[in-house]
């Protein structure tokens, strides 16, 4: 859903603030795109409405898409159906409708309960609106709620972060995504930092906050399962895990990415172009086939993000390479540096390794 009420200061995703009038037409195009796929033999395990801001458009649009998916594919009984939402746009009416459509997981873009931080991030909501939205969601019967939080935001204190985690825990949210702010090119925040109006958080402070958070989250029963993701047992996001495990997924909509038939391909980022219609077959033909070496790289960069790391048997099945043999020297070095561990036929990054995961990935990826 490439629509937002306002562009956040740190966001470089595709989103439009002045095109809400095209939402119905957009919905038609998404459904048309969906219908072009061959559904034979597939059932859908997870659905994720991402953005933009899916909660910013009329709930009926979400319903139409969801029922189209239901018509086209068999939706698994226990399918995880997530909707990303923004605290400002959540109303009790919408929440009730979402429930009735079968949406069973909400991901709320809270980012912080500190009004100063929210202002710097350019969010439209304040802390109280965020609190109310979580309460309403719970009241409407949502049990599986994720809250997005950010840290390493200019002027953010460690206390502001630990307070946010405390609040999430006391609300009883089941899942927390905790992202270190990335200053993306072309964003307002990046420009503010580049021109000196804001001071970027240094790496030491960033890691200080991260490790404090890791400790707190653990104490409160949120188990880390990925670099930035923490959940009460059983509440890990199945949808995101599918990305990291390189399962197949179909991305529908403007700027959506897909991994299907061992090909990676994506849709146009231009809304008007998308509204003119999508030719899935042509799109797939233009995609990139993932060869063995590329698959090896993907596993390294995706699976190592997860605490459970790489399944070595699956690695050799998917790529034809024996990771331990191929990278023996480097693995020994990384182990001696305390960055990776090996056990139960899995290779995974340590806490220390996850701090410098790009380095670990690059060291291993040079063999492929």
């Amino acid at each position: 859903m490439p629509y937002c009420v306002k562009k956040c200061a740190y966001c470089d995703f595709v989103s439009y603030t002045d095109r809400f009038s095209t939402a119905n037409e957009y919905c038609d195009t998404v459904i048309d795109e969906l219908m072009q796929y061959d559904a034979h033999g597939y059932s859908v395990e997870t659905v994720f409405f991402g953005g933009g801001t899916p909660s910013a458009v009329a709930p009926e649009i979400i319903m139409r898409i969801l029922s189209a998916i239901g018509q086209k594919y068999s939706l698994a009984n226990n399918a995880e159906i997530t909707l990303e939402c923004n605290p400002c746009t959540l109303t009790e009416d919408k929440l009730c409708k979402y429930r009735s459509y079968g949406i069973n997981r909400l991901s709320i873009g809270v980012q912080s309960f500190d009004d100063n931080v929210l202002k710097i991030l350019g969010r439209v909501h304040d802390a109280n609106t965020a609190r109310k939205s979580i309460e309403s969601a719970k009241k409407s019967g949502f049990d599986n709620i994720n809250v997005d939080l950010m840290f390493a935001v200019p002027h953010q204190t460690e206390k502001s972060l630990s307070d946010a985690i405390d609040e999430c825990a006391s609300f009883g949210v089941r899942h927390i995504s905790l992202y270190s702010l990335i200053l993306e090119d072309g964003t307002r925040l990046k420009r503010d930092v580049d021109c000196g109006a804001l001071c970027a958080v240094d790496d030491d402070t960033d890691r200080g906050m991260y490790h404090t958070a890791l400790k707190m989250l653990k104490e409160k029963g949120y188990l880390q399962y990925e670099v930035s993701n923490f959940a009460k047992p059983g509440y890990e996001s199945r949808h995101n895990t599918a990305y990291w495990e390189r399962k197949e997924y179909i991305g529908l909509g403007c700027a959506a990415h897909s991994f299907f038939g061992n090909k990676r391909y994506s849709n146009t980022e231009k809304l008007d172009e998308y509204l003119n219609g999508i030719d899935v077959r042509a799109n797939m033909l233009g995609g990139t086939l993932v060869d063995k070496n590329s698959a090896a790289e993907e596993i390294l960069m995706l699976a190592l993000r997860m605490n459970k790391g790489i399944d070595l048997t699956r690695f050799s099945e998917d790529t034809g390479f024996e990771l331990l043999e191929k990278c023996a020297g480097t693995i020994a070095k990384l182990k001696s540096e305390g960055l990776i561990e090996l056990s139960c036929n899995r290779l995974y990054a340590t806490d220390k390794g996850r701090d410098v995961l790009n380095y670990v990935i690059l060291e291993l990826a040079q063999y492929f």
């Binding site: 790496d203 994506s266 690059l362 990826a365 040079q366």
Partner: protein, 601 residues
């Protein structure tokens, strides 16, 4: 077209400040005389190397023959000789000029006379050329052709009353230029019956025909089957083909006094077709060679190493191929503990080095690492011996050195007098000795300085240009050696000397340079899992220190909603970068670090 009919031949070149439209005018002349159809035109056809087109400079000179029917009804042969345009190649320019009787002096109608215009005009006057001013770019709104016409007369002292007002871009008045060439540039003189004397003003290597000399026949004539002699070294060859460029090679029967063309004689080595040399005939030898020959001496040396060590043989092939076309390039194998196997190469100057480096990159697709450029020092040892030194690694221990000498140059810097202050400051900063200042006219001067060569090889020319808004021009020649207090500056990473960073430098400059290099390396060497000390040292004395802190955070917080292509592209880029890393002990150094430390200021 009759060949060698002197009355109807004109030999000329085009001289101009950079960007004043020299190459565009050449294109237009080629087009107007029907040599190149408009549809076949690549912009700036004489600058055939991509590099030349991009840098807007001419590196290798070329010559083309144009056929022109003048308004007086007669047919003329116009030989256009292109000239290189940089201080590294001043000698080549002077030889090209020596092959002509006249020059078109192109001046931009809005910029007016600039440094190079003047330097080149004087060079042309020294060579007794008839100069025809041409005022270009008159189609631009900012053009002031009449002001520029007066300027040419006042500053250079040329009669500019007949100067055509043209636009090389649109083709306006190109015929006037052709008429001026015919009417104002004298026909070549020279005795067709005298012994052959042919001036080599350029050469290139052809895989089938061998080294080919571009020549201007000053006296006599040459034809296929003649036995010729290179007067500088006495080597003799049998002529297999002669001809001219139209602009491709067009064979002919004879080249006579006054003609411009080429000679092939199965010459295997481009060294036998040295620019400035005179060709004569075995059977009827000329008594004296033409004046002005100079042996080409590389003045700047640097190590070239393949960024990927497995490309050593490919780099040698590349250097060998480039050398076929470039008599000034020298190289020999050397090894570095830091960089492995590579070559010590000699160049005319830093631009020459840049060009070779870029050609290796573009034409052979090889990434290379270069070490700090050096000049040749003379080292007097305490045991009485003297050695020559162009590689800092070979510098003997300070205790074995009696004294050292460095090469110096006599430099002439021409400038409008308002820039005298900044230039003197620059020369002083570069350890220059002031010699003299002469007024050429009311507001232009020549500053004469003796400067150490190693102070001007890096960036002197660039800084001179920037401090004088491009108005100053520089010319220099070697002026022997003089004693200097020189030291070897070493750079240590994690406690180990990295020989490829070592440089010989004046003691007074060693501290600031050491600090600069340490800081620069701190910027370009990526953080690693451990702390890396960087030290600059003279002998055992550390004079500067920086520390690269250990890597604390390098992780992407988010993989963007199923879009893993972004991260994948980044990884591919990092892998490419990693391939170009050099491993020194446990420290990895990117190839660009070696270039980064060269650029001082």
């Amino acid at each position: 077209m009759p060949v060698g009919c002197n009355e109807n031949v004109r030999n000329f070149c085009i001289i101009a400040h950079i960007d004043h439209g020299k190459s565009t005018l050449a294109d237009r002349l080629l087009e107007r005389t029907g040599l190149i159809a408009k549809r076949d035109m690549v912009d700036q056809i004489l600058d055939s190397m991509d590099l030349e087109r991009e840098k807007g400079i001419t590196i290798k000179s070329q010559a083309v023959r144009l056929n022109y029917k003048a308004r007086n009804g007669k047919d003329y042969i116009l030989n256009l000789i292109d000239t290189p345009g940089h201080v590294d190649f001043t000698y080549e320019v002077s030889r090209s000029l020596a092959a002509c009787e006249g020059a078109l002096l192109v001046v931009d109608a809005s910029q007016g006379i600039e440094a190079q215009t003047l330097a080149n005009a004087y060079l042309a006057i020294e060579n007794n050329l008839e100069i025809v001013p041409v005022i270009n770019k008159v189609d631009l709104p900012s053009a002031e052709p009449e002001r520029v016409r007066t300027e040419i007369e006042d500053v250079i002292g040329l009669d500019a009353s007949m100067a055509p007002l043209i636009s090389a871009k649109t083709g306006l008045n190109i015929d006037e230029v052709l008429e001026c060439i015919v009417n104002y540039i004298p026909a070549p003189s020279g005795d067709e019956n005298a012994p052959l004397r042919a001036l080599i003003f350029d050469s290139f290597y052809d895989a089938y025909k061998g080294a080919i000399a571009y020549v201007r026949i000053k006296d006599g004539s040459v034809q296929v089957g003649d036995n010729i002699i290179m007067m500088s070294n006495g080597h003799s060859f049998e002529v297999t083909e002669i001809g001219y460029f139209e602009p491709t090679m067009t064979p002919c029967n004879v080249l006579k006094a006054g003609d411009v063309g080429y000679i092939c004689a199965s010459i295997k080595n481009v060294k036998d077709t040295t620019v400035g040399d005179t060709i004569t005939k075995q059977s009827n030898k000329a008594k004296e060679p033409l004046p002005g020959y100079r042996e080409v001496q590389p003045m700047v040396f640097a190590g070239f190493y393949p960024a990927d060590g497995s490309n050593y043989d490919a780099l040698r092939d590349a250097l060998e191929k480039l050398k076929l076309n470039d008599a000034a390039l020298t190289f020999e194998a050397e090894t570095s503990t830091a960089l492995g196997f590579g070559f010590r190469c000699g160049f005319l100057g830093l631009l020459h080095m840049d060009i070779i480096q870029e050609r290796i990159d573009r034409e052979f697709n090889l990434d290379i690492v270069t070490t700090s450029p050096s000049v040749i020092y003379k080292v007097k040892l305490t045991n009485g011996n003297e050695i020559e030194l162009s590689n800092p690694t070979n510098m003997p221990d300070a205790s074995e050195i009696e004294y050292m000498e460095e090469p110096i140059v006599a430099a002439n810097i021409m400038t409008p007098n308002e820039f005298v202050g900044p230039i003197m400051e620059l020369c002083q900063d570069r350890r220059g000795q002031y010699v003299d200042m002469e007024y050429m006219e009311e507001n232009r001067v020549i500053l004469k300085y003796i400067l150490p060569l190693n102070e001007i090889i890096y960036d002197f020319f660039d800084i001179l240009k920037s401090r004088t808004k491009g108005y100053a021009s520089l010319d220099y020649e070697l002026h022997g050696y003089q004693r200097a207090d020189l030291v070897k500056l070493d750079i240590l990473l994690n406690g180990d000397i990295i020989d490829a960073f070592s440089m010989i430098i004046h003691k007074d400059k060693s501290y600031s340079k050491g600090r600069f290099v340490a800081q620069k390396l701190k910027e370009v060497i990526p953080q690693q899992m451990f702390e890396i000390p960087i030290q600059a040292a003279i002998g055992n004395k550390v004079i500067a220190r920086e520390t690269i802190r250990a890597l604390r955070k390098d992780v992407l917080a988010k993989c963007y909603g199923g879009d893993i292509t972004r991260k994948k592209k980044l990884l591919e880029k990092q892998k490419e970068g990693k391939k170009k890393m050099r491993q020194f002990g446990t420290v990895e150094v990117p190839a660009e670090a070696f270039m980064a430390v060269l650029k001082f200021e």
